[in-house]
Symmetry: D2
Subunit: 440 residues, 4 copies
């Protein structure tokens, strides 16, 4: 088996020659600081087998962390933070951590929050940035959403955004957002490099779907799963308490079904998980409808969890995109409800279908403690990376270590459930669901 | 002002001549029991004013509680419990309390749970009752729904139900359900009385909407409000974080808007509450649409809570009823979303509408401690009432006292928000919303 | 049976002759306001029986609510709010409601929060008041505690406090606190009346123990019970999972055991409730120790909930008081643990005792939705009362109506569990506990 | 820097020659199963640097997962599960997963739960095992604790335990417990091997303190941190609302302070974290007391989180051990309270100290969804390992992969916070606390 070869080389704005103030900072009084040096790396592919013996020259990824020498002079540094796209638990935690680290560890006191995504950089919208201080961000982690607001789109207006960065003397740009946002960040980063502007662009990838590549886990995902579990609990109770009760819960997951899969594993009451990565037939002896009929005849109730992007081949394509460029999905949830109703009507079986779409209840939740800690670490490491002059990078966790990943690499592909992999194996074992397809 | 005159007279199956075993029961060892006698009553109308001076002969309601003499011989008593209609937090708590009180306080050891509502009494469905014991109900209060299952309808099949009651030697029938259920209970009660069968029918009114008459508060309502508040929190976060964000939350409330009103009071972030009791215009200078446009121009976001039964005059009537006989409502939630979208498109204003329908997440929740205590008290008092030979009664709380209310009286009208009353006054004061109608 | 006679007469500062601005306020645009007039009253004692027939001239209590005429000119009115004593869920909700009502309904824009209890009025501590506005109080209900801080004592320094009131031109003083606080408020109120100062003193009674007289329920109590229930759940799990496991949970309740009793009713896993109102023996065949030994031999585990003020007769009196004048209690929790350990050691029975003292976890919680609504209503009614010129009154809920109670009446006695009453009857029925005393 | 060399060699009972039934099992109908082979391994040390270049022959750890060939014939297999030591969130999830995997994937239908730890194997206690089936374990994950009960000790009675294993024809022994438990498991495993008995002993390490070696994360830890965070929130509110308020929270952590450290990172309101790994002085200009005095003078309140094993050098050693052999710790919590009281009394500064010990509230909680998923995976992998004939192994997560670790290796050392490492660096940066020791 050929392994793919990835280029993990990190861009630096230039030599980092300014001694870091971290050790003398207000927050680390008297404590010796343990810096990370650029030669500290971690092995990317840690799995070996007889066919895939250990590589003596493995792919290595740069470790994140505070550097002994930094690139930017703290006193002259101006930072900008922007949050883009849909809400996700933990946005405020990340903002808070960037501000706290820059302020207390580096004494950077000019930090601006640009509002409502990239739109906040576009002059014609006339949305002023807000100054961020420890006092302002102190308690924001307790509330969901982002104090900076968010919106989709405008990541292509690179020139306009750069003009605004120059106008505010920005040296550090932190982009918290998904795929499209980070593609925009890469374009900005390339553009300012061509202009020889000393601006570091550091991204913190945000995707409630957990589908970012080269990231072990996306922030907010654990919180999202917790809330999805509650919706499934309700669907189970409703289904269980009715004669031929069918509970259907739609969760987020446009192109990957991680929330659906994890929530099903945590809940244990789910009988079918439908995800974008695994096609399924509705009709026929192997189809979902016949399976649920069989399940009802055996147990009297059934619970189905469906990711929003599952089964799109069954639906008429909308052929439109939203402001972020995401293809508009047709709604699989009501479609399934409709199909079940028709099917059982024809079969003359009375069923009770209860459909739950928790949607924004999940997105708008504040981060749970696990995500809070993770967001704090991501934000802090992002601040360290930017001060050290790293640019065009994302902060992620890989093999349980915080690392720098080139944005270009991370946006080149999407993380998906492997139908042959361990997660899907666990889902099958938990739900007992068949493939919903005729055997080959 | 004429006050309505209600008849609170309670039906008894006959003289209660058997000494109550409660004082000697396993659960009250050595403690003197404080019985309630039939002459203990509470005043119905406790408000007075200059126009409405104190009545020297006020309407009185019978207090609930254990009686010194009971009607049924515990050793020969068989009890049946049934839960009907939609789920509601606390159903299992009520079941548990009835079983525990009958078993431990009265030594009644033949208690049957009839499954899936009145359907469980209908022979042709062939659904056997389950025997209920302390061991079985011990921990059921921790789970939502009802261990007996539920369904709608079949309350008219009085003869069939009675046949089943006779077949199982049932003396006590506990009906936990809404309006339709209790109408059924009344019919059964009348029928068995005509047949001179010694069967007590005691209802515990269930309505998540809190719209039962002669009941200060319906069980599960407090839990429902708590969960509605969480959905509104999410809507607020979503609206607040978008440019011109509009959060719309639909909550339960077919004919009364108590959940919407209370959730708005608890949350404090709601700008409009729409309830069935108060009509509103959408169009025109006084309409909802113009008001929201104004609000967006001032504050940039808005949150609307709508009870499912609100604004039905704007919708095409479905003209159908469900199995419980409830009129099928057209869905006001998506209708509002549609109207807002159109309006702001015409006005060429970009808005971000986020719609949340928490639905079954609310219904299927287990009772919170406040509702748990209340359900335990309702169930216990229902058991006391039935053992004492009360029949055709509901257990409710009035003026903070547990009382017996004739079913016929309770189902004669529905509880609603008074647009001139204190609750709606508080809502207006909290939301600052105008009447959405032109001044008279 | 003689009924006690209480004097519910309300003090008014004088005739209320200024038209209320409420109907024209920002928050009630166009809505007709439904004022409450001073002759609207509710019946105090609503229970009747053969021995206690209906009184044609019953005791009446004044209803709270907005008045058509008010005493204070809003433009010249300065208000002060103070929170005293131990924390309690809902303090911030009450503060918020008073500010919101004064500001939006009455256009009173000079509202001061005096910090750290009455200490904030004492010059030598030099603690400046903070100006309270809607912007400041907007979201405070989401956090526990009180934004004004709190402390005990200093309620006797009436002259000093009055001097500060005069210095800040205060006309309305809102005192949120317990028994001692309201006694202080009464003294202040009497003193300023003697000085002919037009200052209304309105209290909102705060007691997490629910032991305030003439109040159906104290704010924060429901939240406190919810959290106590969680601690009991843990104790039950620990006891249940050990051989001869004994879980002991101490909850608040200095002179009344309402939290202990309600939490036991909600939880259903409690085997003994110990409260200050009911004495118990430890030793002897009827004592607690022998009972628990018996329980362990039957069921292998036991759960005990003890109010902090229970069993003080077993302990050496500390004979000291805290800054609020409360008698310092000796700690019954560790004492019980010690007694159990000794007893079972002597009996040569291995037991596993798990002691939980949730203490401040309960006090510092934010209010749940139920308490939030209640606090909002209490605060709003307090503002209406003060603006109308009522003074020396507390806002409470009686027979489910908001009413004005003279402070002098409310502090004259404490609310306790009646060992002969319905609450204790329900506790006994739930726990099955014997009296822990030899029969008379 | 020399790296330690560990021996990750796994013991197998013998050649696994029976085809696995997993692919044909009830739960994996029609799905191809993706087996893991014994040559699949993961790299142990994934960090490299200039000084520590990549090793071409790195240490490798065996991957866990279902094997194509198994050692035990399912039809003849009898399994035993035991839970030992203190409670920890997730115990029931692990039990459930083992039972579900054995039953549905391997058709093993003889599964016994031995009760109250190793005590359940000791004849003289006469505690019968309970038969475990899917029906019994179906919903147990919703409750805290362990349905098998737990206790400490008796792990040395190897002969006695083996006799019981033989008596019940046990082939698979699953030991869920801490250090002492797994040492016992190793002894049993060695003993049965010497006796040539075909018994696989597979452990799932349990430590709420997260201090198990060769395990990235212990189950229940995330849930424990979540609950510790709530206690710290309360302490913060109490401290913040008092004049010179000091909130002290004691959390679990006998020899490692992971819960204290993580909870502080999640909470952000903590000013000092005290852990067993880092000594601190109380007295003197660099001591904790002086630091808190300074903090109070600056900010008026302080929050301290202390792990139970911290500062034991300040206390009189109890010199006793509990039934598990753990050294009995003297109680640092009350000791700190006492020291603070004395210090500030001498300094004549009024302080308000609020001490919270959430203790069993944390231990007895049910697992949160994150821990639930993890426990399910641990239990499932443990079942796979045992069926394949692996013995003397623990199931853990390393570098985000489930692996087999020799028990002997895992119990050879304990996981601790590295004072020079990244976790402690993050704690310092968050709290801003100094070293509490004079500079070297």
């Amino acid at each position: 088996m050929d392994r793919p070869v990835y280029d993990f080389t990190i861009q630096n704005l230039g030599p980092a020659q300014i001694p870091s103030p971290v050790e003398q900072s207000r927050r680390a009084t008297l404590y010796p600081m343990h810096y990370v040096s650029d030669d500290q790396q971690i092995i990317y592919d840690i799995q070996t087998s007889a066919q895939n013996p250990c590589n003596s020259d493995p792919l290595l990824i740069e470790k994140a962390g505070p550097r002994r020498q930094i690139f930017f002079d703290p006193l002259k540094t101006h930072a900008a933070i922007v949050t883009c796209g849909g809400l996700c638990p933990g946005l405020n935690d990340v903002i808070r951590a960037i501000v706290m680290c820059l302020w207390y560890q580096y004494n950077v006191n000019n930090i601006f929050g640009f509002q409502y995504g990239y739109r906040g950089f576009i002059q014609r919208f006339n949305i002023p940035p807000i100054q961020l201080t420890p006092k302002i961000v102190k308690d924001i982690q307790h509330q969901g959403g982002t104090i900076l607001g968010s919106s989709r789109g405008f990541g292509q207006e690179v020139e306009e955004i750069t003009k605004t960065l120059i106008k505010h003397n920005i040296n550090l740009l932190f982009t918290i957002g998904g795929d499209g946002t980070q593609r925009g960040a890469l374009n900005i980063s390339n553009y300012v490099r061509d202009q020889k502007l000393p601006i570091a662009v550091v991204g913190v990838p945000k995707t409630i779907d957990n589908d970012i590549s080269f990231s072990q886990r996306s922030f907010g995902f654990d919180t999202a799963v917790s809330h999805a579990v509650k919706a499934i609990d309700a669907a189970h109770i409703e289904a269980y308490n009715s004669i031929n009760g069918i509970g259907i819960v739609k969760v987020m997951g446009r192109q990957s079904g991680f929330i659906a899969a994890h929530a099903a594993l945590a809940n244990n009451d789910v009988n079918c998980v439908l995800v974008p990565e695994v096609q399924f037939q509705l009709e026929g002896p192997y189809g979902l409808l016949a399976h649920i009929e069989h399940r009802l005849s055996q147990r009297g109730h059934a619970v189905i969890v469906v990711a929003e992007g599952a089964g799109q081949d069954h639906l008429d394509k909308a052929n439109t995109t939203d402001a972020s460029g995401n293809i508009t999905l047709s709604d699989i949830g009501p479609y399934l409800v409709h199909q079940f109703k028709n099917y059982f009507k024809q079969r003359q079986i009375d069923v009770n279908i209860k459909y739950i779409d928790p949607s924004y209840i999940i997105r708008a939740a504040p981060a749970n403690p696990n995500d809070s800690i993770y967001c704090a670490q991501l934000g802090t490491h992002a601040a360290h990376a930017a001060m050290a002059g790293k640019t065009s990078v994302l902060l992620t966790l890989m093999n349980s270590q915080f690392v720098h990943i080139p944005i270009s690499l991370a946006v080149s592909q999407r993380n998906c459930i492997q139908p042959q992999g361990e997660l899907w194996r666990d889902v099958i074992a938990t739900t007992g669901q068949p493939p919903f397809n005729p055997p080959d």
